[in-house]
């Protein structure tokens, strides 16, 4: 069961890498968060911790529903931002993502050598998500795509935290959720401002400040 969920996360991340337009990227992000929710739910079910169910609920409300909704809204309002502006085309991006998968596997197998083989796959997927998020941020030039990349990295960390250290303490987890939500709202606000002042959200063209 766990493997299927992890596979779902992996595939939805590949979808994000090959997405060329904003709605597709957001939709895949929604899928990814949903699989993350399923993974957490499976852990909560297995360990029977009431706190984890609350975190599951928050995950569903914030990351599966609210954040994709907000991102859709912003994309619709600023019509300029539909196209992602790929610096690296989607085929090449997919190859990169495959490379990341391998690297993440090697890294986590070395790092978590004390865990048994079947458990290593979870941190491996988590590191893969962090790497891919970073890759998305660097290789897409619109501001919104960078926000999504950041969220992917954050999702990866959430998976890592819930697997390797048995989750963060409860209130820390809540605080981090709050924080992520606030940061998306604030970044959305700045995307609006950039769009208003520059009439585009192409980050590559933000080059007034140098030296």
């Amino acid at each position: 069961m766990k493997e299927i969920i992890l596979f779902g996360i992996l595939v939805s991340t590949y979808f994000m890498v090959i997405a060329k337009r904003m709605p597709a990227l957001i939709r895949s992000f929604g899928y990814q968060s949903f699989f993350l929710f399923l993974a957490t739910f499976a852990i909560a079910w297995g360990e029977d911790q009431p706190e984890l169910y609350i975190i599951c609920g928050l995950l569903f409300i914030i990351k599966v529903s609210l954040i994709p909704y907000l991102l859709y809204r912003i994309t619709n309002k600023i019509k300029a931002g539909q196209d992602l502006g790929l610096i690296i085309n989607s085929q090449l991006s997919l190859f990169c993502a495959l490379g990341f998968t391998y690297l993440a596997w090697i890294f986590s197998a070395r790092l978590f050598s004390s865990l048994n083989q079947s458990l290593v796959s979870m941190p491996a997927v988590a590191f893969f998500m962090v790497l891919t998020g970073l890759f998305l941020m660097v290789s897409r030039i619109t501001a919104l795509a960078q926000v999504v990349g950041l969220l992917v990295m954050e999702n990866g960390l959430f998976l890592l935290a819930s697997t390797v250290s048995g989750g963060m303490p409860f209130f820390v987890e809540i605080a981090i959720f709050f924080d992520v939500f606030v940061s998306v709202v604030i970044m959305g606000f700045f995307v609006y401002r950039i769009n208003k002042l520059f009439t585009h959200i192409d980050v590559g063209k933000l080059s007034n400040l140098k030296g």
Binding site: L150, L157, F171, A175, D179, S183, F190, R193, F198
Partner: protein, 485 residues
């Protein structure tokens, strides 16, 4: 108990910015509030240092010498900024750059920013520490983009994105620290007071990797090269009082976070690992920033690069790790916070009168703004480490301990690049302060609150420099409590 006032007053002031309509009352209230915060933090410092212990309250708060020291630095700069802001906002409104309503938003954000920065050194839980530091980024991004011009929004965007990515790595590091703790067979916790005493039994390899992530993550926020790219943009575009806070305090909060994890790493994997990494990043920051200082054309960016330089010196000081070096580095944190605030205030006044940032276009500041001009002139000597000011003492302490510990290369590089930076500063500021006034410029007088802010900042710089000559021994005694070896 004072800690609750220290955290509560800024928060109450933030609320008051929502309620009170009169800007002048608000400004005065802020000054009084931060004066109270400063006095409470002095009381707290006295309590903790004299009892030579730590104090943890059930729940979140944990205080020791290190954290109280950073609280003190924050509250000094915050008071100076509160003083300076009155005159600064007044002028901004006169010139029509911002509206009355926006001035109130400024006070709201400023207080929330200070509140989040005071929370950082006071918390026990390393996860909450992360959240507090991320909060400082989110709040100050609005302050960086305060004027809503193309340049400032660009700077704010770069700031928020680069720091958020950086800080994600710090969270990754934090998770790995908590993993190392959880596999050691102890109960699950992220509290520093739980992890630090048992650091020696944690898994060495995981600690090493975790500390790298922490260093990259919080190092981004601290402005250590090569992760410093957001810093010159944000510092140059923010309003001058906010630049002072960013440079004087915010960078130090990230250094504080690095030290907290650093202490665990030192206990876990030994001192050399921590030391090498810190010195490496410190030297790189010093080299990169000194180059940019020499060729700089923008006044506020010049000061921003100088912040990177000083953060590098602080990193080297903590990296050397002898009591003398640690005392020097801690003192440098304080000195740099004070001196750099002074310089940013001065730069704010100059930019307001000349209406430009370009170093080549600003001439004859001493004639146009006598008070600011002289303050900046002294500030330049303070900042470049001229005796008898206290920055000279702290830099000397670091350099001496580098040579007495056999870190000859580090010491030599430090001396070389300090000389380069000195040359750059004297060249740029000499041209700027002296020389003939541009046509059409007349002498301008600064607002009273600005002058008070300058004099308030001068006091610690000058008094401390002289006082330090007598209390060196006590200082080492305190420093031994800061970083365990």
């Amino acid at each position: 108990m004072p800690i609750f006032f220290i955290l509560g007053i800024p928060f109450a002031l933030a609320l008051s910015a929502l309620l009170i309509k009169n800007r002048k009352v608000l400004g005065l209230l802020n000054c009084l509030g931060y004066l109270a915060v400063l006095s409470f933090s002095v009381v707290l410092l006295k309590q903790i240092v004299l009892s030579a212990g730590t104090r943890s309250y059930p729940g979140f708060i944990y205080l020791d010498t290190l954290s109280v020291f950073f609280i003190l630095v924050t509250s000094i700069v915050a008071l100076a900024v509160a003083l300076y802001s009155i005159g600064y906002l007044e002028k901004d409104i006169e010139e029509g750059r911002i509206s009355e309503r926006k001035a109130r938003i400024y006070y709201l954000l400023f207080n929330l920013f200070c509140c989040s920065m005071l929370v950082v050194p006071a918390v026990n839980n390393l996860g909450i520490l992360w959240v507090a530091i991320e909060m400082t980024t989110l709040i100050s991004a609005f302050l960086v983009g305060f004027y809503n011009t193309k340049k400032s929004v660009e700077a704010a965007w770069k700031y928020i994105i680069i720091c958020s990515v950086g800080i994600i790595f710090a969270l990754l590091g934090t998770i790995l620290f908590s993993y190392a703790f959880s596999i050691s067979g102890l109960s699950k916790s992220l509290n520093w007071s739980d992890i630090a005493p048992v650091a020696h039994i944690l898994d060495k390899d995981i600690l090493k990797i975790a500390f790298i992530f922490i260093l990259v993550g919080y190092g981004t926020k601290a402005g250590l090269a090569p992760m410093h790219t957001w810093l010159p943009d944000a510092h140059s575009q923010a309003p001058a009082p906010i630049s002072a806070l960013l440079s004087g305090v915010l960078l130090k909060m990230a250094i504080y976070a690095i030290l907290r994890f650093g202490i665990i790493t030192i206990k876990g994997v030994g001192f050399a690992y921590f030391s090498n990494l810190m010195i490496l990043l410190g030297v790189v920051s010093l080299v990169i920033s000194s180059g940019f200082i020499l060729v700089q054309k923008d006044l506020k960016r010049l000061l921003a690069y100088s912040s990177i330089e000083h953060i590098g010196i602080i990193a080297i000081g903590f990296g050397l790790g002898t009591p003398l070096a640690v005392a020097g580095a801690a003192l440098h944190v304080f000195n740099h916070a004070v001196a750099k605030s002074l310089m940013f205030f001065g730069a704010g006044n100059i930019v307001r009168v000349y209406k430009k940032h370009n170093l080549n276009a600003i001439r004859g500041v001493i004639k146009a703004l006598p008070f600011t001009g002289i303050a900046v002139l002294i500030g330049v000597f303070v900042l470049t480490g001229f005796p008898p000011f206290s920055l000279f003492v702290s830099e000397m302490m670091i350099i001496i301990s580098a040579f007495t510990n056999g870190a000859y290369l580090t010491g030599a590089l430090l001396l070389l690049f300090l000389a380069v930076v000195f040359g750059g500063f004297i060249y740029h500021f000499g041209k700027m302060l002296f020389g003939n006034l541009p046509k059409g410029m007349v002498r301008v007088d600064e607002p009273l609150s600005t002058k008070i802010a300058f004099i308030f900042l001068f006091f610690p710089i000058c008094a401390l420099g002289i006082a330090l000559l007598f209390v060196n021994k006590d200082l080492l005694w305190v420093a031994q409590r800061l970083l365990p070896r």
